[in-house]
Point group: C2
Chain length 229, copies 2
């Protein structure tokens, strides 16, 4: 059944940039397209917004349909609307992003996705549409965010040595950080609580384990902080 | 001539939040609607995206058509897409914002705008659609931004006393700042250059005049900083 309008209308899609963190590797969730255009190409999961759902609900639904991933904390990233970005018609895409602990999410391809996989951000295939640009914007956002908001609660195990949090920062920032400086700064923020336990599974020099102090983490997430690197 | 699609399509608009700064007052540019819905109500300037223009170009065009304002540095703010936000049909709106020196822009209403005016942010009329929410998001963004990016180059006269820059910060943040702390922090950033001149038009206690060091300002704008308040 065709839909008729007095003026031309663009189509609107949502795309999801889901970053996963896993053994000091930053990965992104991609699907292999099973429909034209770009059939067989890897792309960000996403699809058309239904007329009666919000943009975030659409992003959530498409992610679940195509990749099986649910229960994400999605944030709106940016809206991409260059007139020729999709060969089918004028398509404006609202991109969302999320950061997850990779081990918590089982993925399975379905709907328009032939395949689904986590790719290391440092080693990606060519992507369909302008999805490389969308991913670039998401990576820049993540690098900016880490400087004025705590990060890691959703990504690290419950108890972790400081070296693991430092590695998360270094992975996202793609640069080494000075160990002493990092410890000093991160501890001064009141973000972490000492568990008074040490690592159990290491042969020597077992490190002290920390956990995020959840109320303080939430408060700093809301109020923002300044983590000068 | 009607346009026909196999699936329903939303309409897409752009809305512009233009903040103006003027004698320690933060204002926002509003138009009075001359067309239904919300005819006669005040609203953010904006309108439908043409099929062959980018989103930013659409925002720029609508601002010029409805308010006469040109040559803005626009940044994308957020995309608003709740299904019922517009009584006409499903309308998704991509909002942009800009910060200008009010004196630099002459406004005149045209197109769908019956009237155009700068309103103090602290004293606004009721707005059409979800435009109060859009404005709230813009104000929050501005307050966040001021903490990790320099601000003021586009808003202050070429030479200004530090008190004027402090007043700009206080206006945007809606809170008083400690004078000594502010001076110390802002001067330590290497953002300002001493003009070695003093105010000419004051009876006594003429203050030293500063200017933004443009290369340093541009560099800090790009790299970001941490201005703890």
């Amino acid at each position: 059944m065709p839909y008729t309008y007095e003026y031309p209308h663009p189509a609107v899609t949502v795309d999801g940039v889901v970053f996963g963190y896993d053994e000091a590797d930053l990965k992104v969730l991609l699907i292999q397209r099973d429909q034209p255009p770009y059939r067989g190409k890897w792309a960000l999961p996403g699809g058309f917004v239904d007329m009666n759902e919000s943009l975030e609900a659409a992003a959530r639904r498409e992610l679940e349909e195509e990749t099986g991933v649910t229960e994400l904390y999605l944030e709106q990233l940016y809206t991409f609307g260059e007139p020729k970005r999709d060969p089918r018609e004028r398509v404006i895409s609202v991109a969302y992003y999320a950061l997850v602990k990779l081990a918590d999410h089982t993925v399975r391809a379905a709907s328009d996705a032939r395949n689904v996989a986590w790719f290391p951000v440092a080693n990606l295939p060519a992507l369909a549409f302008d999805h490389e640009e969308i991913l670039d914007v998401a990576l820049r956002r993540l690098k900016g965010k880490i400087r004025y908001e705590p990060i890691g609660f959703e990504l690290l195990p419950e108890k972790f040595p400081l070296s693991e949090l430092q590695r998360l920062y270094e992975t996202i920032l793609e640069q080494p950080l000075d160990k002493r400086n990092f410890r000093k700064k991160i501890l001064s923020m009141g973000l972490l609580a000492d568990t008074e336990e040490i690592q159990q599974d290491v042969a020597h020099r077992a490190a002290r384990l920390y956990r995020f102090d959840e109320p303080s983490y939430r408060r700093l997430k809301k109020a923002g902080f300044n983590f000068e690197l």
